[in-house]
């Protein structure tokens, strides 16, 4: 407490003293911390959004989320499987090193390393070649329509810096591999990382040598995670913070009624759903056959959930109940498949009985408690819904830093996952990472043995289909299969809601990325 208080005082004093020099500090908080600073060691979009302030991709999202040149200025398709990128001249990394083709080659090879957690983010790329100092060729397994989408999430690192600091091999949050790059950063982005202390905070300052003209007026950014909803809101109300993202749903009304603060919100791309264990036995019932492999059981679990109560009570009417694994703006979405199974506890019990589990069964349910909006509360409610149809549910909630490695290792029976199809913003990301059988680049987020031959086939076909209508039809087919067989249990589309103090202008995006290089503070 005391230390925080002193820190705050110091920050306030610094802000006051430096005010005439127009020091525009933006202090913000979220419910959890980033999981690493190594861009290839994770696939978490919140972490990516924070890292994006320091590191940059070859192409980036504009203020309208369209793709625009960043570290690459232009590109051409030499052959269907060879794309040539011309790199931007005169860009330097934060340590002063010049940016060139060697950095891109080293970065992409680091990402393609089999031990990199994020290698599925660039799944069809097989290799990269340096053409000259400012030109590189990407080599692909086949024609691929989404290369630019994928590249918008691949940050470029500095070859010399990686070599000097013995960090050429990628980290991986699942296996726990870390390196110098896990806690340090040297990018080309609009902000320079000054300090990063896990679970304490991250401080960045504006990069005076940034190649682009800043649209922001910030001199520095201070981020610190505050898990407790009430504490986070209190920090904003007391002037300790300028922005909180997300704002707790129960406090939206209170903040809107307060002078000097406003809440900005819109539907997010992120869908929240429950995943299942498809192995031969459940962790909760060793030695017995896994009931979740039975489609009727999974449908029973879906029918058991009272989505209206979840939405109205826990999500305060701010969520949208869904039946499919992508949000409406995302390619692959289909309104026909976006129909949840209705709340029907009697029908659920009948389905369980039909599958031979009239007396229910035991399962674990694992959830994060600081990642998605009201995640813990949702899971407590789901446990109650499931126990009412006869299951015994062993619920465990924990922080994202231990939760995601656990999910990645397949140590769960039923687990909560949120997916916003980032960075590609395309249904293919669900197909490739979540639905496809885990094999090489596919199934990076399918740790529990889900395997459907038709989905795997569509995964291969959609990857190389250049006709957009046909490609979308394939995505829709795969997503419809997932829905009809209840491979996952979709819960809802969550809102993105932030609270800011007056005088702060930050654009909001449905992908929930906080892009402070568009922020202005007065």
């Amino acid at each position: 407490m005391f230390r925080n208080f002193r820190l705050t005082c110091t920050a306030l004093m610094m802000a006051t003293v430096a005010a005439p020099l127009s020091a525009e500090v933006l202090r913000w908080s979220s419910q959890g911390d980033i999981v690493t600073f190594d861009p290839y060691a994770h696939t978490e979009s919140f972490t990516a959004s924070v890292i994006h302030h320091v590191y940059e991709p070859l192409v980036r999202r504009s203020e309208t989320l369209s793709i625009e040149p960043a570290l690459a200025t232009s590109w051409e398709i030499v052959e269907p499987t060879r794309w040539r990128f011309t790199l931007r001249e005169g860009v330097t990394f934060h340590n002063g090193n010049a940016f060139n083709a060697d950095d891109v080659v080293t970065s992409i090879e680091r990402l393609l390393h089999p031990d990199a957690r994020a290698r599925g983010n660039l799944s069809t790329v097989t290799g990269i070649e340096k053409v000259d100092d400012m030109t590189v060729d990407f080599l692909m397994a086949g024609p691929y329509p989404l290369l630019l989408n994928d590249l918008s999430g691949i940050f470029i690192m500095d070859k010399e810096w990686l070599e000097e600091n013995d960090a050429v091999l990628p980290g991986n949050i699942t296996t726990g591999v870390t390196s110098f790059a896990s806690t340090n950063a040297n990018g080309t982005g609009p902000f320079v990382l000054d300090s990063y202390q896990p679970d304490v905070g991250t401080i960045m300052s504006a990069n005076p040598n940034w190649w682009d003209t800043p649209k922001h007026n910030l001199t520095s950014i201070e981020f610190r995670p505050i898990t407790s909803d009430a504490t986070r809101v209190a920090a904003l109300l007391s002037g300790e913070l300028d922005m909180i993202a997300p704002v707790p749903l129960q406090d939206i009304a209170r903040l809107e009624a307060s002078d000097g603060f406003s809440v900005i919100q819109e539907p997010a791309l992120r869908l929240i759903f429950l995943g299942f264990n498809y192995r031969d036995e459940l962790h909760a019932m060793p030695g017995q056959p896994n009931p979740l492999k039975d489609e009727r059981v999974r449908k029973a679990l879906w029918h058991a959930i009272d989505h209206d109560s979840l939405r109205d009570k826990i999500m305060r009417g701010k969520s949208r109940t869904v039946g499919i694994l992508v949000a409406p703006p995302v390619p692959g979405y289909s309104a026909e498949a976006d129909v949840p199974l209705p709340y029907d506890p009697k029908g659920a019990k009948a389905l369980l009985a039909e599958a031979g589990f009239a007396d229910g069964f035991s399962t674990k349910l694992d959830c994060p408690n600081d990642r998605y909006i009201n995640d813990e509360q949702i899971c407590v409610a789901v446990k109650a819904f499931w126990e009412r149809i006869g299951l015994t549910v062993d619920l465990n909630t924990e922080s994202r830093s231990t939760y995601f490695p656990k999910v990645d290792k397949g140590e769960t029976d039923a687990y909560m996952l949120g997916w916003a199809t980032l960075p590609a913003m395309d249904g293919f990301s669900v197909l490739r990472a979540i639905l496809a059988t885990r094999d090489g680049n596919s199934g990076g987020n399918n740790p529990n043995g889900l395997s459907d031959p038709r989905i795997d086939e569509l995964n291969q076909l959609a990857a190389v289909e250049l006709d957009e209508d046909k490609r979308r039809a394939m995505l829709t087919e795969a997503l419809t299969i997932a829905r009809d067989k209840a491979y996952f249990l979709p819960l809802h589309q969550q809102p993105v809601a932030w609270a800011i103090r007056d005088g702060v202008a930050v654009p909001q995006f449905p992908d929930e990325y906080v892009r402070l290089w568009f922020a202005n503070v007065n």
Binding site: K313, N369, Q377, C379, V380, A381, E398
Partner: protein
Amino acid sequence: MKTGTIRRKRLPMPPYVMAAALVGLAIILAAILSPLISPVDPTDNASFNLIDAELPPSWLEGGDPRYLLGTDNQGRDLLSAILYGARISILIGAGAVLLAATIGVSLGLLAGYLGGWVDALVMRIADVFLSLPTILLALLVAGIARAVIPDADSVFWAPIILIAAIGINEWVQYARTVRAATMVEASRDYVRAVRIMGLPMPSILFRHILPNVIGPILVISTINLAAAVLTEATLSFLGVGMPPDYPSLGTLIRIGNEYAFSGIWWITVFPAVTLVSLVLATNITGDWLRDRFNPKLRGSK
């Protein structure tokens, strides 16, 4: 029982101590009897519905007469949740005190009676434990237990882990107090007598010395019970205590705290008031007991 001392003059019990003792007893009794007296069983999923979530206390607008103190964020009856929560909190607190007392008294008796290197060893270990903050040590034990036991979050294991985590660093007080008292008793004639009679050591320690040092142990236990209940609440508040779907006072306060700014004050206020009353009552009673057993204060008033 007291050997060779004058009869104690009883310290009268002031009214506020009487009141505190009654409040403490009432809460403990209500908690123990919670399965009988609480309106519903909050751990039974059939007893609540999400539709009823966040209803205010019954006397406020929008309140429901079925829920006297309102409902929590999952629609559970708050009164029942508090009663059951107090029961699990007191159970864990009492378990931790029992564990600490068992370890502490045994080691204290041994150290005080044997002296020498045993005494030195026990007291140095005690010093190490004293140098570790209670919460830190409890978090450490809970963390290790979670890594070792796969079902650490189950309703069965969570209380056991909490008892171990809290109990493990409170034994020091017992050991130090009992050691000092044992040293005094060990030099007395009745101990010499039983020793000459050839009684085995456990018998001397537990049948003859222990009854004469039990007074201070009871006093420490009362005060430690309050501390243990608080530690349990703190650990649950930090999220390493009872599972989130099983009400304990700390868990209820933690969940309710998320709503502190949204006008839904009852989820955190009622469990907090219960916790404060319980701890305050136990502390006042414990303080008075300490004064009563303190020979230096005897006859000063």
